[in-house]
């Protein structure tokens, strides 16, 4: 390949604990190609996203065509090819949350941090995303800030919580 | 039977459809027997009177085109979209993938042929381009379409002749449907 000089093409270090984790998972799944999604889950959890070199590592290990892996990764919303930011703010836009003003929260976040869903701030501190439904409909509107569910939130509350997070 | 009135109009297109219209050659005499051509880019005539049939070449690319096509619609009994640009926006629509500003900058600022002072011309007399180019049916009711880039002369003549004889043409039936 031409762009071997790109950092994404550097093979991940075998000593990286995250690569060890992925290798263990691949072994556990017996190098079965149909375990691809399970292995991608492991990688996504370990890295927070799927770096290209890790993807290539998995492709090689499972002896899969690159296009097959890439097509699968891009199909599922869970997998991301870009870093999602140190702190993540996930706004639920399920029907119940939508009816109760999820859009207002998104508008306020965009106003305060100039970030639209799917974007990460320039300093990589904050990433904003939306979920189709986190299943906490009784608590609408809900926002997940770094794994922590904030229920029945107002836009001011969530902006304050985000500010507290990224200030650290 | 009184003679019908025909007009042809050239909006956002390359005039290729009008060239094709000229290619009906001597058959223009058959048309002339049945109708008067009252306005056409190739004949003189400043105003568009009320007409029976108007052939419109090109798509709606500017505010002026929009004003014109709305006026045409009022004046014409039957509005025929002539050629791919009028029907599908075709090549004129190829700028729709970009922002209008990008299009201007590419043409007037960043083009190789421009000198350093290249700037987007801005004069009140100039046309104001619309953000997106649209085919005729997006803005007015179109009574008949002749796709093709350009449609061939035979097709144009066939459609005109049918209309002038108060028949509704059918391109599929006579295998004259063609794009590109």
């Amino acid at each position: 390949m031409k762009n071997n000089s790109l950092p994404t093409d550097v093979e991940p270090a075998k000593t990286d604990p995250r690569i060890k984790l992925i290798t263990a998972k691949i072994k556990k799944e017996n190098y079965k190609p149909d375990a691809l999604i399970e292995i991608l889950h492991t990688a996504q959890n370990a890295y927070g996203y799927l770096p290209m070199n890790v993807l290539k590592f998995i492709t090689k290990a499972l002896h899969l065509p690159p296009s097959r892996v890439y097509s699968t990764v891009t199909f599922y919303h869970f997998f991301s090819l870009k870093s999602k930011g140190e702190h993540t703010c996930l706004v639920c836009t399920g029907t119940a949350c939508y009816v109760k003003g999820a859009q207002l929260i998104l508008n306020e976040i965009e106003k305060q941090f100039s970030l639209k869903p799917g974007q990460v701030s320039a300093d990589n501190k904050l990433g904003v995303s939306v979920a189709r439904c986190i299943g906490a409909c009784g608590l609408a509107p809900a926002v997940v800030l770094d794994e922590e569910v904030h229920a029945k939130v107002s836009s001011e509350e969530i902006v304050n919580s985000i500010n507290a997070k990224i200030a650290v | 039977m009184s003679k019908k009135k025909i007009a042809t109009v050239w909006l956002g297109g390359c005039s290729g459809c009008h060239m094709s219209l000229l290619d009906i050659d001597e058959r223009i005499l058959d048309v002339a027997k049945l109708a008067d051509i009252v306005k056409c880019p190739i004949v003189d005539g400043k105003e568009l009177p009320e007409v029976d049939i108007v052939l419109v070449e090109g798509s709606v690319t500017s505010d002026e085109h929009l004003r014109e096509i709305l006026h045409i619609r009022k004046q014409a009994k039957a509005l025929v979209a002539l050629g791919d640009c009028a029907v599908t926006s075709n090549i004129t629509g190829m700028r729709n993938y970009f922002d209008l500003k990008e299009v201007f900058d590419t043409a007037y600022v960043n083009a190789v042929s421009n000198d350093k002072e290249g700037s987007v011309p801005d004069h009140p007399e100039l046309l104001k381009l619309r953000d997106k180019v649209v085919p005729l049916q997006e803005v007015v009711k179109v009574d008949f379409v002749i796709p093709g880039c350009p449609p061939d002369a035979d097709t144009i003549f066939y459609v005109l002749f049918e209309f002038l004889n108060d028949r509704i043409p059918n391109l599929s039936e006579v295998k004259k449907l063609r794009y590109g």
């Binding site: 296009s67 890439y70 | 599908t88 075709n90 049916q137 179109v142 379409v145 599929s172 590109g180």
Partner: protein
Amino acid sequence: MPKISVTIDDKKLDVDVGKTILEVCKENGIEILTMCHLKGLTDVGACRLCLVEIEGVNKLLSACTTKIAANMIIRTKTEKIKRYQRITSELFFAERNHVCSVCVANGKCDLQKLGYKTEMNHIRYPYLFPECNVDTSHPWYVLDHNRCIMCTRCVRACGEVEGAHNWNVMNRGYQVRIISDFDTPWGESVTCTSCGKCVHACPTGAIWPKAIVQGQLEKKPEIIGELVEKRKMNL
């Protein structure tokens, strides 16, 4: 081979079991419009042009993936089906940037022919005008996403016949795109064998050889089916 009797468009036919409705129709000279079907490749039922009405079945079924069964009463050219075929054809045109007049496949394009067959004189839906790239990195061939209709014939020809798996589909919904390897430029693909099967399989001007000028494109999609047949014979 055992025979079963079926009725297609009011014609009584005795046909072999185990065939798809599409195969039976073709053998009996009944035209069915298709786009994603190509002899020699697995049928996926994606273009929805070959939908037929079957008596007693409350939904339309794709002829390419439905096996014929005894006593089926099939209709292939009802007003409803014709109407739907025209809409499908319009959606194909509106989805990407099909500018026939400047397309290499002009006059040789299956999509154009589809438009004529469905009597599509104009497109009633607003064009989407998506931003599409043209990949010219391969020394011999070009991939033009503007003309792609996502029939995936190239994907299947490459995977099933050539076995290279260079092509696949990325993303989902209206954002799907044909990709080579990791969405890398085709010329940099590590899997492509430059065999050219995808070029022949492509029904439009989305994949074409560089050494041609407009209107001179000659594709032979039937070679895919012939190749598969020959391989079967050799086995």
